[in-house]
């Protein structure tokens, strides 16, 4: 397997607790979303990639190098941890400059790069304020600044949009896309699926320390075709429409959640969408709207994680 990050049966324990349980995934170039609920193992994977935890078994490589250790290749990686993890007594500029100096930049080069990175995250005006007075959103932005300031090839962002206001989210998302467009790679973790959906179609889904699905979002959607797909229809006569639809082989159930609405579960959404217009025309039915109730990543994730239980 090739990729910016390759995990092969990676297991990490915290005593009796399994952080990762035979996690295998291949993170390709560009932006990849690491999606999973809290406690799924996202931060554990990031700490392993940041060289701060050591795998108990399995193989984990980052940019072709073993993930464990603090070797010189760390310069090629930017890491934005999820916890606040800031030196509160420093100013924003000092914070970024200090971390750049740990990469081996001269004082002058570090200061110049720090200024550029702070400007990119729109914190130039707050650069001389101490980090302890920064809001959560500003903290996320300054953390992002420190992880891109040394121009790394790969950036690991652990819940980067957590706590950021909508405007900040939008600007950070734009920054991430720009960073990727410049030929860099990002792995972005989140437990809020729509955040990742806005950034990329490439996702790795994680639950209970295992990769439950990976690849193009649309391919992952194909994986769920064997499970009932929920479709809501708005119609003035739900019972009539429901009687016809209930006769189809691939329809698992028909429900009437509220007046004027029909909920259908089907094992074959493609067949359903193909046959529905013909039914409406031939039987003279009125259907005002058709909406897939699980068109978003949350539903995909629920299907996949439930399938593993």
């Amino acid at each position: 397997m090739t990729g910016v990050v390759v995990a092969d049966s990676v297991t990490k324990r915290y005593g009796e607790v399994l952080g990762l349980n035979g996690f295998s995934a291949n993170f390709p170039e560009g932006i990849t979303g690491l999606v999973g609920p809290n406690g799924a193992g996202k931060s554990t994977l990031f700490r392993l990639l940041a060289g701060q935890l050591k795998v108990d078994s399995g193989r984990l490589t980052i940019l072709g190098e073993p993930a464990w250790g603090q070797g010189e290749f760390r310069r090629r990686i930017g890491y934005c941890p999820e916890p606040p993890s800031l030196f509160d007594w420093m100013t924003g500029n000092d914070f970024v400059t200090t971390l750049l100096r740990l990469d081996g930049f001269s004082r002058e080069e570090a200061a110049a790069r720090s200024a550029r990175a702070m400007a990119e995250v729109a914190l130039t005006g707050d650069g001389n304020r101490r980090l302890r007075v920064y809001s959560k959103g500003m903290r996320q932005r300054v953390k992002f600044a420190q992880c891109i300031a040394h121009d790394p090839e790969l950036v690991l962002l652990d819940e980067p949009l957590n706590g950021v206001d909508p405007v900040g989210r939008a600007s950070l998302s734009v920054l991430m896309k720009q960073f990727s467009a410049a030929g860099r790679h990002l792995i972005v973790s989140s437990h809020v699926l729509y955040e990742v959906e806005r950034l990329t179609d490439q996702i790795v889904m994680i639950a209970n320390g295992q990769a439950i699905a990976q690849g193009d979002l649309h391919r992952i959607r194909d994986l769920i075709d064997s499970r009932p797909h929920v479709i809501d229809l708005e119609t003035p006569d739900p019972r009539l429409v429901g009687r016809f639809l209930g006769a189809w082989d691939h329809v698992v159930s028909v429900e009437f959640p509220e007046p004027g609405r029909l909920r259908v579960k089907t094992r074959s959404p493609d067949a359903f969408y193909a046959a529905l217009p013909g039914l409406v025309v031939t039987e003279g039915l009125t259907v005002r709207s058709v909406r897939s109730a699980d068109d978003n990543l949350d539903a995909v994730f629920r299907y996949l994680s439930e399938g593993r239980r």
């Binding site: 940041a50 070797g71 760390r74 993890s85 509160d88 971390l99 990469d103 930049f105």
Partner: protein, 275 residues
């Protein structure tokens, strides 16, 4: 003549070496501790030692007693050890605990810097503060007495050398203690209390046990007695010493290094972070 489009190539950035990166950590840690509390305690150390030594040296010069004994006088007081403990607790208790507690250590170690380098830089920063507090006041006092004509320049220089020697031993010992306790907790307050409690209890109990069993070897566990012996020998004062200065020197340096290694072991065990 031909015209071609210019090619722009990003100039490769020259990365500085490991020593420079260690210095960056050292500098940050050193500056971080330059807050009002430690500075006030160190100022108190300077003030009290300079005044005491100056008057003691003046008195010794007038009465014809040992001037070097006067220079050595601060080490005879338990107040000296207490002062060093306060400085150690203030500048060293948070050196690792603060980074572990806030998990900002993850940011340090996500860079191309080794755990050993990180720990060495932290030790150097803490040790520098302790050295300033331990040797600085004596050196200033020696300079002042020479400037006031109380002692010759060569005597003052000898005293400075002795202060630096004892200061270095003090710095190694107390730095090791602060690193060890700071690595064991996420709260600098706990580390500070542990530094105080352990050193004072070991010092007091070794005095008591030594008296009960009648064996002075137990006093090698007491940093106050050890420092006193080393100081007497460093300032060229004649025997008898409370305990053997050479053995005291070995014990203090060894304890400092071993405790530093304990801190390294501890940090490597916790793999930097944990929930």
């Amino acid at each position: 003549m031909s015209i071609s489009a210019p090619r722009y190539v990003r100039a490769p950035v020259a990365h500085l070496g490991r020593t420079f990166r260690d210095l960056a950590v050292l500098q940050r840690e050193f500056l971080r501790r330059s807050t009002a509390g430690p500075l006030a305690v160190i100022a108190l150390a300077f003030l009290s030692v300079v005044i005491t030594v100056t008057f003691t040296v003046d008195f010794a010069a007038l009465t014809g007693t040992s001037v070097m004994g006067a220079f050595e006088s601060p080490y005879r007081s338990v107040f000296w050890t207490l002062l060093m403990l306060i400085v150690t607790a203030m500048v060293g208790s948070g050196s690792l605990a603060d980074d572990i507690g806030s998990r900002s250590i993850t940011l340090y170690l996500s860079r191309p810097i080794h755990l050993t380098d990180y720990l060495f830089a932290k030790a150097a920063a803490t040790g520098s503060w302790i050295l300033i507090a331990a040797a600085g006041p004596g050196c200033v006092a020696a300079g002042l007495t020479a400037a006031l004509g109380m002692v010759s320049a060569s005597t003052a220089l000898t005293a400075v050398g002795a202060y630096l020697a004892v200061g270095l031993v003090t710095a190694v010992y107390f730095t090791g203690i602060s690193l060890a306790f700071s690595s064991l907790t996420r709260r600098s307050l706990y580390a500070g209390v542990a530094i105080f409690g352990s050193v004072l209890s070991v010092a007091a109990s070794s005095e008591v046990v030594s008296g009960i069993v009648g064996n002075t070897n137990v006093l090698y566990a007491d940093p106050n007695t050890c420092l006193n012996s080393i100081a007497q020998a460093s300032f060229g004062l004649p025997a008898p010493y409370p305990i053997d200065p050479a053995t005291s020197l070995v014990v203090m340096v060894l304890v400092g290094i071993l405790l530093g290694m304990l801190a390294w072991w501890r940090l490597s065990r916790i793999e930097v972070v944990g929930e």
